[in-house]
């Protein structure tokens, strides 16, 4: 990752910037709403980014330490993905990650299925309910320092 960040530094014009977006170390929440009423909320056990986020943050810290970049600004935002049924949202995420061939944790998949099953049961008894996934991310603007 450090090598990639150094390569990006070379690809940027001297007055350019790198925008990094990555999830924060907190599992997304699966929420069921009907109108403004929150019917259920559970953290997503399928969240397996933690090790990747640690590596990403370590790589960013390293290039900042080396002086390749400086942080100009950073912020956080919430990315919400919603659907009218639990299977629909689950299908969306499966399709979204279908091209990622990294090994999956089977126990985590079971726990994730259980969360979606519980949400589906709640929605069966709540006409008009909507399910949504809420994921927080950090966005950082880094500027390359002048290259020698």
């Amino acid at each position: 990752m450090v090598h990639a960040l150094e390569d990006i530094n070379q690809l940027l014009k001297p007055d350019g910037c790198l925008i990094d977006i990555h999830p924060i170390r907190e599992a997304p929440f699966i929420k069921v709403f009907r109108g403004s009423d929150l019917l259920s909320v559970e953290s997503d056990p399928g969240y397996d980014y933690d090790e990747g986020i640690q590596h990403a943050e370590a790589a960013l810290a390293e290039v900042l330490h080396r002086g390749s970049y400086r942080v100009e600004r950073e912020n956080e935002f919430e990315l919400v993905t919603s659907a009218s049924s639990a299977p629909e949202l689950q299908d969306y995420w499966e399709q979204y990650g279908a091209f990622d061939d990294t090994p999956k944790d089977e126990a985590m998949i079971v726990r994730k299925n259980e969360v979606y099953t519980r949400a589906d049961e709640i929605m069966q008894n709540a006409s008009g309910a909507e399910i949504s996934c809420h994921e927080r991310a950090r966005i950082t603007r880094l500027e390359p320092n002048v290259r020698e």
Partner: protein
């Protein structure tokens, strides 16, 4: 299908708060199916969007809005290979899109 992604535009709003895309040459690394690309590309001069997953790039190309076809280039390529074949000082903005 009634999936809604980022209905309040939180992600592009956060992006636009940090960078001015007008007339810029942009590289997006890890563009996936183009979900974020569509949200800023109409402001940029040119966007090169890359992803190592062939299926994601195929979907992004399929879903490309007509008005963006002249300025967005999707490429199925990993970053290391892309960087090795690219000239330095090419891009105004590089986006690491949930991909570091």
């Amino acid at each position: 299908m009634t999936i809604r992604v980022d209905p309040e535009n939180n992600e592009p709003n956060a992006l636009f708060a940090l960078a001015d895309f007008n007339g810029r040459r942009v590289l997006e690394i890890g563009c996936g199916n183009g979900r974020l690309t569509w949200r800023y590309a109409d402001r940029a001069a040119h966007v090169t969007a890359i992803d190592p997953f062939e299926g994601s790039i195929a979907r992004a190309k399929e879903n490309m809005p007509n008005h963006l076809k002249s300025r967005v280039e999707f490429r199925h390529i990993g970053f290391d290979d892309f960087a090795a074949a690219s000239e330095s000082s090419t891009f105004d903005i590089v986006i690491l899109s949930w991909s570091l």
